[in-house]
């Protein structure tokens, strides 16, 4: 396997970088093998209308064409460097950014990169069976687009490991292809990435809520003093925006379909028409939102303080000039209420220890924007029903809320009460089975499953009945 710029589009001077070439000679074939084993099952030989990034400038980062997924040109792109960039936050604020990994932060940086990197292939694995139940060719194509781009994110992070972490980095990169979502022996690092996503509502919730966690993690890393990491994650964020769009619009279209049926057939159960009841949608949101909040880690965290102090990971928008005045964060506290002996109690978390919380708060505000739009749609349609975000305290297993039970409004309740009410808030197995049962595949161009509305427009100006996927195998 030759390592060349034509097979691997890049802006990291791969042609003349012997270190990267050496690493990729072994890793690229292993990646392809992994993709064929663990990537989308059953559609590897079909032509998919995909977007490929072939350069970082505006004309090159979104190039559309039919491509068979294994031939996708996974590339390595970093947002172009700014030679004058200085460190924007933490103890090293104001100093020039680092173009090498400082040895003293090697383990922390490796951990940050490895944890982020591991989620990229994990989500591909989680979603590998979804093609079979795609509600349309349009959605199927979006799924594969997300999948190949998560593959590219893997490349982007692996590039950092290969380029900056020597032998250890190569070993970590190898492990990325060895761990498997849900495997008993070598599971993915974060628990949320170990359960399969086997219905499309879950997929939309994942891209809406869990990928959005990714957006905020990447946003924190995009502030990093380690410039290659900042540049890699900045470019990843441009792709991530599409994944969030898939999730946001997917949930929204599902809600709309249910609302339409409710209005049309006043009083009848939308299940009669193969759609998903609003209550189940809400329960999915409750489940995915709370699981995604867990991904931020504890609200009071010395790790997050260390990462911030060392200028390794900032807050979202840390240096955009609008979000934060104080980029050192040595003073001040974040107030937070959590249960102590069954009573909500005020707590103060020193700001630096509250960096996960800062990120999670920005995340919630971002989610709320999407919910407001969905609710505006419902209002415009003349619906009374509204969708809500559960309290951050609800259904948490990580962090300061993990030790007690709360309802969706954030009130403290007993474990017994939680067990009793659980079915009102979270989807039961029966409900999940029901959702799965309506996931009928729609393979004709322009056709959509009965539980979801078509989108407003197609991809890249193409009509909705465009052949987003051309099947070659059957």
């Amino acid at each position: 396997m030759s390592i060349s710029s034509s097979s691997i589009p890049n802006n990291v001077d791969l042609e003349s970088n012997r270190k990267l070439q050496k690493a990729l000679v072994a890793w690229q074939p292993a990646f392809l093998e992994w993709w064929n084993d663990m990537g989308p099952r059953g559609y590897q030989q079909d032509d998919i209308y995909l977007r490929t990034a072939v350069s970082v400038d505006t004309s090159g980062w979104a190039h559309y064409d039919y491509v068979k997924m294994p031939d996708y040109r996974w590339g390595i792109f970093l947002t172009p460097s700014d030679p004058n960039r200085t460190i924007g936050f933490g103890d090293n604020k104001g100093k020039p950014v680092w173009n090498q990994v400082p040895g003293e932060y090697r383990k922390e940086l490796r951990r940050l990169i490895v944890t982020q990197c591991d989620t990229e292939p994990a989500s591909v694995e989680q979603q590998r069976l979804l093609g079979d139940s795609a509600p349309s060719l349009y959605d199927m194509r979006n799924l594969f687009q997300v999948n190949v781009e998560e593959g590219r994110h893997l490349w982007a992070m692996v590039h950092l490991l290969h380029e900056y972490f020597g032998r250890d980095g190569r070993e970590e990169a190898e492990d990325m292809l060895v761990r498997r979502s849900g495997s008993e022996d070598s599971p993915r690092i974060l628990e949320a990435f170990n359960k399969p996503i086997d219905d499309w509502l879950a997929f939309f919730c994942f891209t809406m809520f869990t990928d959005r966690d990714g957006k905020f993690q990447l946003g924190g890393l995009a502030e990093s003093a380690f410039d290659p990491l900042a540049r890699a994650t900045r470019f990843m964020l441009t792709e991530e925006a599409h994944h969030l769009f898939v999730g946001d619009s997917g949930v929204s279209r599902t809600i709309r379909k249910t609302a339409e049926l409710m209005l049309e057939h006043d009083g009848r159960d939308v299940r009669d028409f193969g759609a998903i009841p609003m209550s189940i949608i809400q329960k999915y949101i409750n489940e995915w939102y709370s699981a995604s909040q867990d991904l931020f880690g504890s609200e009071d965290s010395s790790n997050s303080a260390n990462f911030f102090a060392a200028s390794l990971k900032g807050r979202f928008g840390e240096t955009d000039g609008k979000s934060y005045d104080d980029n050192v964060a040595l003073e001040g506290c974040k107030e937070l209420q959590w249960a102590e002996n069954g009573v909500l109690t005020n707590h103060e978390i020193p700001l630096r220890r509250a960096m996960n919380l800062e990120l999670a708060d920005s995340y919630r505000r971002d989610c709320e924007k999407a919910l407001n739009r969905w609710n505006l749609n419902l209002e415009k349609m003349g619906m009374e029903k509204r969708i809500y975000l559960p309290s951050n305290r609800f259904n948490r297993s990580v962090g300061v809320f993990g030790d007690a039970h709360y309802d969706t409004k954030g009130n403290v309740i007993t474990a017994d009460d939680f067990a009793k009410k659980k079915a009102d808030w979270l989807p039961s197995q029966e409900e999940k089975d029901y959702v799965k049962s309506v996931m009928v595949p729609c393979r004709k161009p322009g056709e959509f499953a009965p539980w979801i509305t078509p989108p407003r427009k197609g991809i890249k100006g193409n009509p909705l009945d465009f052949d987003y996927v051309c099947f070659n195998q059957r």
Binding site: R18, K19, G103, E104, R106, F165, G166
Partner: protein, 545 residues
């Protein structure tokens, strides 16, 4: 109080003609080291009364011991005694200790401990038996020094005692091997040792002999005569056939960040807290002649190891902030291997043996130095045999994977340079696999990186693409870690295997002493060392751990 500026003036080289405290007298097969400490020490602020000593005195002592071995190999016994009336020595100067930074105290004690061990080494391996003639009170370090001698004779004048008053007087330990030698070497019963070590005024006369604190006591009238008799007996005519060499000064030159010796260079990067210690082996070495001492002080292994030793001492005292030292060598493997083979062939020659013993002591000095060491084996390195011991003494070995980069073992790795634990560095490295050590020491071929790695001789093997990054990251990471925890970690990992008196001195006695030196009961506002010599009693925190 930081004393780095004063310490930076310390030179570890001296000559009997420059001694300010000791006198070295050689009379045929018998040598005498007379302690007559000048009141002015290395720096102002204390006076070396009652033959108390500071580092300056110990540098002279170390010099005397070393010169006796190389310049006066004919000597068979050495008397250590006092030239002052009524007092042998009152030990390390307490005002000096009280006014020294912690790091200096630790290094001072380490150096004095090494010097004491050199006396025992000379007695055991060079046939120069040390005898202490205590013609007055020997107290604290002033009694620990005699304990490093083979035999101790005390004047019985109803006045002169041996004593270890550190615990009752100073709230610290007799840390120059005292407690360890009492029970391990002199085999004093532990309960008697306990009584003795808490008895400030010490023990005199017959009782001192009974308890095994001294070997004999003689009345003043016959003391000199008896001691001289014993010295003659021990010297047994000495070694008239050995012709000593003359040891010249090293006089390194400072060039920018580099201290340049003839074969060794020490480059210090103060900003990164990293130093490089490098040995350059000449293209060819002279063959060892019939009388090896004809080679003189210029002979490569003697000169180069003296330089290395001096550089290690400077690192300890002059560069406390340097956390990591990179060991490098340059030259041809064959030259080193050939040197080792010749030394093996001439090992019966006194001079070759003396140089070999000295190399052993330098390696031990490295083992006992509280800095991280990484050996870097690169293009042009010559880590063979004796020089490979530097790599084995290092905490990690980084080896470049490239054509022509090799290491090689020789007979010198098979037992010539035992560590403080009595094992070779290979035995210690592979403590769980003696058979592997057997295989290795029989294997004399050059080993490329892959082979060396297979044999477990390499920590990290990296090719030329990875090398620079691998080393840079390891270096940066190392110097970012807590220096205290690294000191403790390294000292714990370097000495696998059995305990010896020596490992106990450095690993137990010194470690406790260094702990006590940090505690308020010794150095706090009302600590015993702080208040020493003042009309106030120390106030202890009586909580025990």
């Amino acid at each position: 109080m930081e004393t780095a500026t004063q310490e930076s003036l310390i030179s570890f080289e001296t000559h009997p003609s420059q001694y300010r405290h000791l006198r070295l007298e050689v009379e045929g097969p018998i040598a005498r080291i007379l302690i007559d400490n000048h009141e002015d020490g290395l720096r102002p602020g204390y006076q070396l009364k009652l033959n108390s000593y500071d580092l300056g005195v110990d540098i002279e002592l170390a010099d005397a011991i070393q010169r006796l071995r190389f310049e006066h190999p004919e000597v068979g016994s050495v008397l250590v005694t006092s030239a002052q009336e009524g007092v042998f020595s009152s030990g390390a100067n307490i005002f000096m200790l009280g006014s020294s930074a912690h790091g200096f105290k630790v290094n001072f004690c380490k150096y004095t401990n090494e010097t004491r061990l050199y006396m025992e080494d000379a007695t055991e391996f060079s046939g120069q038996t040390y005898v202490a003639g205590l013609n007055g009170i020997a107290s604290g370090g002033g009694y620990e020094l005699p304990m490093a001698c083979e035999e101790i004779y005390l004047i019985d004048d109803r006045r002169s005692a041996v004593a270890l008053p550190e615990v009752p007087y100073l709230g610290v330990l007799p840390g120059t091997g005292g407690l360890t030698r009492l029970v391990d070497k002199r085999k004093v019963r532990r309960d008697r040792a306990d009584v003795f070590s808490t008895l400030a005024e010490g023990i005199k006369g017959q009782r001192a002999k009974e308890w095994g604190l001294v070997d004999d006591v003689f009345p003043a009238s016959t003391f000199d005569e008896k001691v001289n008799e014993r010295l003659s007996e021990l010297a047994d005519g000495g070694y008239p056939n050995r012709k000593g060499i003359s040891m010249d000064a090293l006089t390194p030159v400072q060039e920018g960040d580099t201290l340049q010796y003839r074969h060794v260079s020490l480059t210090v990067n103060e900003r990164d807290r990293v130093a490089t210690l490098s040995m350059q082996v000449p293209d060819a070495l002279p063959n060892i002649p019939e009388n090896a001492s004809d080679l003189g002080a210029d002979w490569f292994p003697l000169r180069a190891f003296r330089e290395w030793d001096d550089a290690i001492l400077r690192l300890r005292f002059h560069y406390p902030e340097v956390g990591l030292v990179l060991f490098k060598t340059q030259g041809a493997l064959e030259v080193v291997r050939d040197m080792d083979e010749q030394m093996e062939a001439h090992k019966e020659d006194w001079f070759v043996r003396e140089v070999t013993l000295f190399m052993k002591r330098v390696f031990k000095r490295v083992d006992c130095t509280a800095r991280s060491f990484f050996a870097l084996i690169e293009e042009g390195s010559c880590f063979a045999g004796s020089l490979f011991e530097f790599a084995l003494a290092a905490d990690r070995i980084y080896m470049l994977e490239e054509e022509g980069v090799s290491v090689q073992l020789t007979n010198q790795n098979a037992g010539t340079f035992p560590m403080a634990n009595g094992l070779t560095r290979l035995q210690t490295r592979f403590i769980g696999d003696p058979a592997h050590v057997e295989t290795l020491v029989k294997r004399r071929e050059m080993m490329d990186t892959e082979t060396a790695d297979d044999f477990g001789l390499v920590t990290v093997a990296a090719d030329e693409i990875d090398w620079e990054d691998e080393v840079r990251l390891a270096v940066e990471e190392r110097v970012s870690l807590s220096p205290d925890s690294l000191t403790g970690m390294e000292a714990s990992l370097r000495f696998a295997g059995p305990e010896t008196m020596e490992t106990k001195i450095f690993g137990r006695l010194s470690a406790w002493q260094n702990w006590i030196f940090q505690r308020p009961n010794a150095v706090g506002e009302k600590g015993a060392i702080t208040l020493y010599g003042q009309p106030v009693n120390p106030v202890f925190d009586f909580n025990r751990t």
